[in-house]
């Protein structure tokens, strides 16, 4: 077993870290203050990312993507996680699910997404279907060669800047051993399609400048050629790709926690109270010890889960463990980093208050901590008949 990075991995980490420090950090303050990423800044980040060949690093090389495996991509996103999400979203990483594109879809969606010409968003959640995804009400009925979609999606991240949306819709019901359940199909829906509207969402405490949207489908006609994967097999498509997005959440939490720690550590060494450095007080030094231990644990858990995906090993449980642990670790570490700074930690002058606010959503989106624990325990108990 070897825990070091290869030269290539080290270069990926160094390059992305330096990109985040030079191209992302300088814009964070304006995004925090205004809640908006000025479009020229977003475009500049995107163009620079394209220029250095890091755009769509997660997608297959045969279509022009970077072709990184899960482990290398997880290292990349860990460094990206240090920066404000409203800005790093322009360091484009189209949804991995687009690799399921076939035929004309490749030229219409996958290829332009990889080239940075079209931006995607992914829509699953509804007002009445959060963790209970299959309870979705957004549905489609077949009419000739088209499907007519009706319903509402919400909390759809960065749909405001999306050119098309990957949307999951109920397309009928089927009997299963646990009763009747909805059949789900995944569609590709272009912005501007009649009957499809992308509306501003809610103001969130987390991730200012990274907006969520409400999608409305009102008798929106989508041709059957816009089905991603197979009809009624939307969950199969989703399951194949969406576990990886939990790795994204986990690894970005690790990167962000490390940034908070790197602020807290020198402060503990330099700040003097009662005639000595505050790091000399056990109340502070033990916090640092716990913080770095938890950050490293989350880092290793996440990287090993990514490695398992690359090896083709079962990774569902491990990814859930990484997601729940890393996001809860981030909550603790960002909170303690503020505690070490005292009042100053809450001021806008430092990124800590933002990291602390941003951390809250990580335990909710892409599967709540409770759903992750459900996945973990189910995987443990099922083989025992539990």
């Amino acid at each position: 077993m070897y825990f070091g990075l290869t030269d290539e991995q080290q270069l990926i980490v160094d390059t992305v870290r330096s990109f985040v420090e030079n191209e992302i950090y300088p814009h964070e303050e304006v995004v925090e203050k205004t809640g908006v990423v000025p479009s020229e800044i977003g475009q500049e980040i995107k163009q620079k990312c394209i220029d250095i060949g890091f755009y769509a690093a997660n997608l297959p090389a045969e279509h022009g993507g970077g072709g990184l495996n899960h482990l290398d991509f997880t290292l990349l996103e860990r460094e990206l996680g240090r920066g404000s999400l409203g800005l790093t979203v322009f360091f484009g990483r189209p949804s991995g699910i687009l690799a399921a594109c076939e035929g004309d879809q490749i030229e219409h969606y996958l290829a332009p997404a990889i080239r940075g010409e079209k931006f995607d968003a992914l829509a699953m959640t509804e007002p009445d279907a959060g963790s209970d995804v299959r309870g979705m009400k957004c549905s489609a009925k077949q009419d000739g060669d088209d499907w007519v979609v009706n319903g509402t999606k919400h909390f759809i991240s960065h749909a405001d800047i999306a050119d098309f949306v990957i949307v999951f819709v109920a397309t009928g019901e089927e009997e299963s051993d646990r009763g009747s359940r909805k059949k789900i199909t995944c569609f590709l829906a272009d912005r501007g399609t009649p009957g499809f509207e992308i509306l501003p969402g809610y103001n969130s405490v987390s991730h200012r400048g990274y907006h969520n949207c409400i999608l409305q489908f009102d008798n929106c006609r989508l041709p059957k050629g816009n089905i991603l994967g197979e009809l009624h097999r939307g969950f199969e498509v989703a399951n194949e790709w969406l576990y990886a997005t939990r790795l994204t959440v986990a690894t970005m939490a690790v990167g962000r926690a490390r940034r908070a720690f790197e602020l807290a550590l020198p402060h503990a060494a330099e700040r003097r109270q009662f005639g000595k450095q505050i790091g000399k007080f056990q109340g502070v030094s033990f916090k640092l010890a716990d913080m770095i231990t938890e950050i490293d644990a989350a880092d290793l858990l996440t990287l090993s889960a990514a490695w398992r995906l690359d090896q083709g090993l079962p990774a569902n449980r491990e990814i859930a463990s990484a997601k729940v642990y890393a996001t809860e670790m981030l909550a603790r570490v960002s909170d303690e980093a503020i505690q070490i700074f005292g009042g100053m930690g809450l001021m806008d002058d430092l990124p800590l208050a933002r990291i602390w606010r941003d951390s809250r959503v990580e335990r909710i989106w892409d599967g709540t901590s409770e759903i992750q624990r459900h996945i973990i325990s189910r995987e443990l108990l099922r083989p025992l008949g539990g």
Partner: protein
């Protein structure tokens, strides 16, 4: 009219140094600076030197960029980074011994004699010892012109125009090639490494030459006695007026 050929080859030196972000610590036994488990990088001025060489090549004024380093086997990491930035091939002169400026210059001379580059670009100094010697020594040993502290470099055939950052401002000189140029901070801003180039770097040639093969005998002229951290800066005092300032300076024997 004389047909002017472009440079066949540019040689660039890359030194492995403690990363500029790292707060350096003296080893417990005071024998040097701690490098165990410390992030190491290309000396930033060397990175600028490489960037300049790559730009010259990209302008079609040179055919090949060769990066060289000297020291322990770990220096391969910095050479791989150089290859990922765009250098064509790399040479590591391997040695476990400490290499001082003069030995370094002699090693570079041996490589120059093997490779016959039209131009050697080095960093003006390395951020570890800040010696600022190797480039000048190489030029003297090689008996070729030198242009140090370069902030602008243009190649025209068998000569180069170099703007130098000197104490009084900027000085522009013309030198015949081959020559040694050392890079200053403002020469350029090094690029980000491109992802496809990271993947290609592994396949580029990296030759490892044992120091003994170069018939350069390391003859260190310097002996390190002891390393100590600089004293912590004392808190300053605020004086009320100029008279107070003069008095304070006098008290410290500075005026």
């Amino acid at each position: 009219m004389l047909e002017i050929d472009k440079l066949e080859k540019i040689l660039v030196g890359l030194k492995r140094v403690v990363d500029y972000n790292v707060r350096v610590r003296v080893k417990a036994d005071a024998s040097g600076v701690e490098t165990d488990g410390v992030k190491m990088s290309i000396n930033p001025f060397d990175e600028i030197a490489l960037e300049e060489a790559l730009r010259i090549k990209e302008r079609g004024e040179a055919d090949e960029v060769v990066v060289v380093s000297m020291g322990r086997t770990e220096c391969q990491q910095q050479l791989r980074t150089g290859l990922a930035m765009g250098a064509d091939r790399a040479i590591l002169v391997e040695s476990d011994d400490e290499i001082d400026s003069l030995t370094g210059a002699k090693i570079l001379l041996a490589l120059v004699e093997r490779e016959h580059p039209g131009l050697v670009i080095l960093g003006k100094q390395a951020i570890d010892n800040d010696n600022n010697q190797t480039g000048q020594m190489l030029a003297a040993l090689w008996d070729r012109p030198q242009a140090t502290f370069a902030s602008e470099l243009t190649i025209s055939g068998d000569s180069a125009t170099v703007t130098r950052e000197v104490d009084v401002g900027l000085e522009t000189i013309e030198i015949d090639l081959p020559a040694v140029v050392t890079a200053d901070l403002r020469l350029n801003e090094p690029r980000y490494v491109k992802l496809p180039d990271i993947m290609k770097a592994k396949k580029k040639p990296l030759d490892i030459v044992p120091l003994a093969d170069l018939s350069v005998a390391p003859a260190p002229r310097l002996t390190s006695v002891e390393y100590t951290a600089p004293e912590q800066r004392q808190k300053g005092v605020i004086v009320d007026d100029v008279a107070g300032l003069v008095a304070a300076l006098k008290e410290k024997g500075l005026a």
